[in-house]
Symmetry: C2
Subunit: 155 residues, 2 copies
DNA sequence: GTTGAAAGCGTGAAATA
DNA sequence: TATTTCACGCTTTCAAC
């Protein structure tokens, strides 16, 4: 499925997604074109889903992060309400979850007032029955790399 | 703080963090060296905090995502317990939050059994008084770009 | 901000194992 | 199949403006 070479490449890309193929090639002792081909295959297979820049939300005027539990009165098994929530640009994540709530939603907004306006828009979405908002006071860890098994050194 | 040109660059990088300086330069009608310099300044100012690859957790054997609310009996104002939680590699996010719980934690693990073992390690961290785990059934939206104000066209 | 030039990189084709 | 080598064009980067 994924071999040690792939893991090694992914490990490097998790540290810096803008690393050049040539520098990756140097680090793993391969030709750049081989690295290119492996990355392309990982993209095609959907293991790599894209490349993102990590921005400082606060410095961009988005000082407030919140998690919102959303209740919904939709047909069992439907996720239509969640997909409607996901359309809003302030919404960074929507997860359909087990338990009494239906959705857990992560949002970034400039301030309390914007959060209030956003919750009103949540309320206008069909099926939404309640929201419970939890404010983030301090983000302690964010967007950590996934714990890939370490590549085994070839013996 | 951030002008329209910066916003334009960030907008492009949010879509594809591996976009070359030259292609960004073409899209915004500037010299590549000017783009390079702006990106460097955004990095130095901490607006850009890094470049990440978005991986498919399921295809890497991490089939289970969960959010865990963690209660802690530490001194008011301390976040030591949160920083200890953040050390674990399975933990992708730790937020110190308002409300009855102290922390909200996001984790990726291979399966139920690994989740159980992880929760045991949570319990071994000093101060942790309880955990409430919510399993993700379907991730509907993840790692969406931040809603930057659209750049105003120069008039 | 721009340009220009040198060094480095991306990428496909062909060769190799 | 997966990889290296090679060659071309493009990109990065810095210095000078």
């Amino acid at each position: 499925m994924i071999d040690d070479t792939d893991r090694h490449i992914l490990h490097i890309l998790q540290e810096n997604a803008r690393a050049s193929n040539a520098s990756i090639a140097r680090q793993i002792g391969m030709a750049p074109s081989a690295v290119l081909e492996r990355i392309r295959k990982l993209e095609k297979r959907g293991v790599i889903q894209g490349y993102e820049v990590k921005l400082n939300a606060k410095k961009l005027g988005l000082a407030l992060t919140a998690f919102i539990r959303v209740g919904s009165e939709e047909r069992v098994g439907s996720t239509q309400t969640g997909r409607n929530l996901a359309q809003l640009p302030e919404v960074q994540e929507v997860h359909h979850v087990a338990g009494p709530d239906c959705y857990l939603v992560k949002v970034h907004v400039p301030d309390n007032e914007s959060l209030g306006q956003l919750l009103q828009r949540f309320g206008a979405i069909e099926g939404v029955s309640y929201t419970h908002t939890v404010l983030v006071l301090t983000p302690i860890k964010e967007s950590a790399p996934l714990p890939l098994p370490e590549p085994h050194p070839a013996s």
